[in-house]
Amino acid sequence: MTELLMIFFAAVFFNNFVLYRFLGICPFFGVSKRIETSLGMGMAVMFVMTLASIITWLIQGYLLNPLGLGYLQTITFILVIASLVQFVELFVQKVSPTLYKALGIFLPLITTNCAVLGLAILNIDFNYNILQTVVHAVGAAVGFTLALVILAGIREKLELNDVPRAFAGIPLALIVAGILALAFSGFVL
């Protein structure tokens, strides 16, 4: 139990996927303008990450390893993630049109979100069992959402401030993200 908690909190804080591993930077800046959309994005990523890591773990353990096809890991995982995202897109469009409109272009972009692929590969590299994999995936997604929401909260405030023109928008967001990453590295020490 302690071990699972360790994996979870390590993924959320210490080894935060965005701020420590620098994975999933595209949605980190793309969807972090409003807290609402960043929460929605976080939920979609959580759904995709959990499902993708379970399926990739099963495929690695019961298909690739027995057949000695470890070298096909990347392409197979990408295939899994891409189809999953398509599935989630169809699902969200049916269940919540509002969320579908809010996520817009970024739902298909999870397809190429390296955080999902990185998570799937890390699970294998760490030799996690299925339970640890799920906990790790949820932790990673929570960490991703946390980073996104923090940045969105700061950017919402920044929009009301008088920012020098050269820094307005993405440049300032990059600086803020850097400071955030520094702050998160405090967990490690």
């Binding site: 057949l67 599935f87 169809l90």
Partner: protein, 267 residues
Amino acid sequence: MDYFRDIAVPVLSVGGLGLIFGAILAVADKLFVVKQDSRVEEVLEALPGVNCGACGYPGCGAFAEAVVSGQAPVNGCPVGRKKVADELSRIMNVSGVASDERYVAKLACRGNKETAKVKMVYHGIKDCRAANQINGGPKACVYGCMGLGTCIRVCPFDAIGMGNDGLPVFHSELCTGCNRCRNACPKQVIRMVPQSTNVEVMCNSLAKGAAVLKVCKVGCIACGKCAKVCPTNAIEIGDNLAVIDQVECINCGKCIEACPTNSIVRV
């Protein structure tokens, strides 16, 4: 045989995975299908597709959805006029709502280079909104058109051109009544008038008569002569400006003859 195994196994496993996922997606596509009213697409196709927003909806797509759900009238597109309204009423199966009356933009100012005085020479950005920030613009009359052409640039239909006299020329046959020029004009000197009526007071000045005469030869001085000669009492003087009620106006043109400053014209 080893070569065969080395090639066939990876190809089959990855290909098989692809097939399985493809099948799942195909099923999901049918299972989670979102029923969209087919009329939305039909309506969208009949619309001009300029996304100008003149209907009050954010773009043609939103308007099409509003029409199909009954929130917007079929003649709600001011750009498409009767043609689109007829088409939409055919798709939506309603009748008798299409009207050919349309509003076109007109410049309510005749103060050109010769008739209106200038109080300063403006060398700033060629944009009315910028010029208006500097003491109300270069013209002596703060209500009049500055002629820097912001309306020309915002018009998506090329319905406005610049005349030789320094005032924009509005081509009503190209105007779709989308209101963009009117919203962009800092002087609010552009008016939407029904196309069928054609007598208008082409002055925007709310200044007193004497003040108008000082800065412009063709401004309305609110003398009231037009109101006196009007056979249908369609003209009213308020806020130092004559206003013609276009519902009452019969286009007789008597006010045009009576106006001492020629600020009433056929447009």
